[in-house]
Structure formats: structure tokens, C-alpha cells
Amino acid sequence: MKIGVLALQGAVVEHLRLLEAVGATAVAVKKVEELHDLDGLVIPGGESTTISKLMHQYGWMEAIRAFGEAGKPIFGTCAGAILLAKQIEGQQEAHLGLMDIKVARNAFGRQKDSFEVNLPVAGVAADYPAVFIRAPYLMEVGEAGQVLAKYEDKIVAARVGQYLAAAFHPELTEDTRLHKYFLDMVKESK
């Protein structure tokens, strides 16, 4: 399975490392043309406004939408989840608008409130080390979707069809279980 990590800005190598650890062929993707032979895509943590600005150039928006609509799995972490969402609280427009979730940005406060905690993630782990950095949360998940994790009653991970979103940063840990889960989604989609 060949999985790309969108490498416009953010924590790219961390995702590559974990994808390789679960047995995928992982590549950093910097040009739109590089999407065509991928089986799945990860949109990493970073600054969602920055990544979005960069995606509005060189045809990224259309290309990633076509990629997702062709049924290929996409995994967004933190900023990546915001970019995938159909709705963003307080904003008129979404970015990619692919995944039927509504997100609230910086929903746990500023950097000094950033935290880590072990959480159960359905179908993945009973004690997943979740690292939240100026993190968003998922206010709503579409009816077809499945909530995978909650923290203090707030949804922090979900799957809707071929899309997977986490408000936290699996790429900042050594834990490969969520990446394994995504790799299985990619295999199923084939």
C-alpha cells in the first residue's frame, strides 16, 4: 500500500515514520501529480490556515476532493481534521469539505492548556496516548459516521466512510495502532 503525507507544512516526517512502521510505503507529497498512484493520504498536523492557503494554489483543492470522492481513504490529524471537515464553527466556508463532521478550532484553549491523556479509541486501543496541541474537537459527526473517541464528552476521533479524523496527534507518539487502523481502511478500500 502506498500512502502519501501531504507535505505543504506541518509534522510530515513523523507520519511517514509511523506509516512505514506498520508496513506501508510512505511518501511525502509536495506536488499535485504525486497523488495519482497513492492508495491513501494523510493530512498532518500543522497550521490549518497555512496549509489551506497553500492548498488553494496549484490545484490541490480539486485534486484532493477528487481523490476522496474516488473512495480513497484520507486521514486528518488536528489541522488535517479541520481541513477535511464539511463545517467549521464560526466560519462561512469549509476547506476541503469532504468529511461529514463539524469542528470547532482551538477548542481546548491556547498552548498553555495543551495536554496529553490516555484515551480509549474504539476498535483501536483501550489506552491510546492522545496528545492535544491547541486542538480542535468534533462538535458533530454525520449519521453515517462512527465516533471513535471522546474526551470530557467532546468527540476527538471519528470515522465517516473512507475518512478518518483525530483532534490529537498520533504522529507525536511511538504508538502505531491508529496508523495500523488507517492502513486497514486503505486495504479495505482496494
Binding site: G10, V117, L172
Partner: protein
């Protein structure tokens, strides 16, 4: 158990900034321009380094109302500078909710012997360094991110290049060393032994390393990325240029696509003149900001 302000959360914040541009701003309006241009964070200041240099006198933490205005104006992270060793300025900025502190040589040092014990803070710190020893001493004190010192406010990239090249060469040397040689090298560099061991094993710093101090054009930013920077700070360069909005966007694109020369050519066209630069040898040694810090 929930843990706030852990090492991982502090270093992780810097990881999320990788491949991005952090821009100096002096008011809310500039902060909005920076955010719209794609900055990953802004540094809220009272004056940009070139104006600090011109003004002379003692440079302190910024007017807090500026910091507050910037915090309210943008949704991206906001950084602010405290004087070297001035842990009270740092605490005050932390209490305002600033996302990242820069213990910075751009301001007049408050302590001529010691830096802040950054491990005590919930908020992460970035510090400047000219070489590997200095970088590891700052990380030993708790810095979660390193940047080159360069020579701030000059629009002259030569010092940042020297500092990045020095660090990278030293990292390669330490990585290639025999384990037996590490303690003597730790002594030579003035670096904590355990951190040097990390560099030996991993061939990189244990934290993110940005370029700063003299980046004035998109090509400067791309140059620093190719030399191994994880991202770029642009101080006086943007809002001292003729068309800050366009200039900021161009620097962001050049930082992302740093090996795409046609793209850099395209975004660099028609930017107007960049900031006026200063030749380093024309700055008296006592006025060089990079000499501050120990």
C-alpha cells in the same frame, strides 16, 4: 491522568510549525496580514529588530496591550519575546496566554550570567544559538525549539547561514564520532552530555531548528531551508518591504517549495525592493545582537 505542559506537548507545538514562516508584527493589523498570507505564527513586538537597532537604548518586553491586541486578532499561535534571564517578563507573557516565548538576544539582556530556567514553565520557549554547544545548553535549560541567531534587523543572511552551517557540520561530526569521544566533545562544546548522546544517536537536534536573523527575501528563506532549517522566522523583512502582503505570501510559498526554482522565480517577481540591508562589518562588535547570550 491528564498532563498539561509536558515536554512532548511543548516540543510538539514546535513540530506543528515545521515548514512554516513565523512573522514579526507590531500591531493587530499586521498580524492579520501575516495570517492571511499563510504565516504559521506571529511574533508580537513593539518594534521590529531593525527599528530596535536604530532606536538604541534598552529594549524590553513589548507593551502588553500590543500583545493582547494581537492575541485577539488572529487564530494562529502568538509568540512574544522576553529578555534573556528575565523570568518575570516571561511569567507575565505566559499569564496573558502567549503560545510561545522567545528568550531573545534582540532585547537587551536582563542577566549577564544566566538564562531562564525554561523547564519551570508551562508555555514552550524558543532560543537563539550560533553553534551546537549553545543550542544544547538552551535545550538543557528547557528550550523546546531552537533558531539560529543570525544578526537580527540587518536584512543580511550571512550570519544565519554561518550559524546553520556551523550547527549542521557539528551535528554530522558528533554523529560520526566514536562513543568514547563524546565526553571530551561535550566538554569542548560546553554541551550537556545526555543531549550530545542524543545527537550522536539520531544525527539531529532533539527539537525543531528554525532559521532567524537576516532573512529578507523568498530566496533567503529557501536557502535556509536547503541548509537544513525546519522553518523560518522573518523579522524586519516583511513589514519593512514595499508590499508586505505580497512579500509575506511569496516568503511562505518559497519556504514550502524551497527546491522549486521556477516557483521561487515566479513569486519573487515584482515584489518591489526588500528592506534596506546592513553589512555586518559596519556594525560595531558591541552592537552585534548575536554576541548576547552565554
Amino acid at each position: 491522568m491528564v498532563q498539561v505542559g509536558t515536554d512532548r506537548v511543548k516540543k510538539g507545538m514546535a513540530e506543528m510549525q515545521k515548514g512554516g514562516v513565523i512573522m514579526d508584527v507590531v500591531n493587530a493589523e499586521q498580524a492579520k496580514i501575516a495570517e492571511a498570507a499563510g504565516a504559521v505564527a506571529v511574533m508580537a513586538l513593539e518594534r521590529v529588530p531593525s527599528d530596535i537597532r536604530a532606536a538604541g537604548g534598552v529594549a524590553r518586553m513589548a507593551d502588553l496591550s500590543i500583545v493582547e491586541d494581537v492575541l485577539k486578532a488572529v487564530s494562529i499561535p502568538v509568540m512574544a519575546k522576553a529578555r534573556i534571564g528575565h523570568f518575570v517578563e516571561a511569567r507575565v507573557l505566559e499569564s496573558l496566554g502567549v503560545d510561545y516565548l522567545d528568550e531573545s538576544e534582540v532585547l537587551t539582556p536582563a542577566d549577564d550570567l544566566y538564562h531562564i530556567n525554561k523547564k519551570d514553565f508551562t508555555v514552550p520557549f524558543v532560543c537563539g544559538a550560533r553553534d551546537l554547544g549553545e543550542a544544547l545548553r538552551r535545550i538543557g535549560e528547557g528550550a523546546s525549539m531552537i533558531r539560529t541567531k543570525g544578526e537580527p534587523g540587518t536584512g543580511n543572511i550571512v550570519e544565519a547561514v554561518r550559524h546553520m552551517r556551523t550547527m549542521m557540520a557539528q551535528i554530522r561530526k558528533v554523529q560520526a564520532m566514536s562513543y568514547d569521544e563524546l565526553m571530551a566533545e561535550a566538554k569542548n562544546l560546553g554541551a550537556p552530555y545526555d543531549l550530545l548522546e542524543y545527537v550522536h544517536k539520531n544525527g539531529k537536534l532533539p527539537v525543531v531548528n528554525f532559521a532567524a536573523g537576516g532573512v529578507a527575501t523568498p530566496a533567503d528563506a529557501a536557502l535556509m531551508m536547503q541548509l537544513g532549517s525546519d522553518g523560518v522566522f522573518v523579522g524586519s523583512g516583511i513589514f519593512k518591504s514595499e508590499n508586505p502582503e505580497k512579500f509575506a505570501r511569496a516568503i511562505v510559498e518559497a519556504t514550502t517549495h524551497y527546491t522549486d526554482y521556477e516557483l521561487i522565480a515566479r513569486v519573487s517577481k515584482g515584489l518591489g525592493s526588500p528592506m534596506q540591508g546592513i553589512e555586518i562589518s559596519k556594525i560595531r562588535e558591541a552592537d552585534r545582537m548575536q554576541e548576547r547570550g552565554w
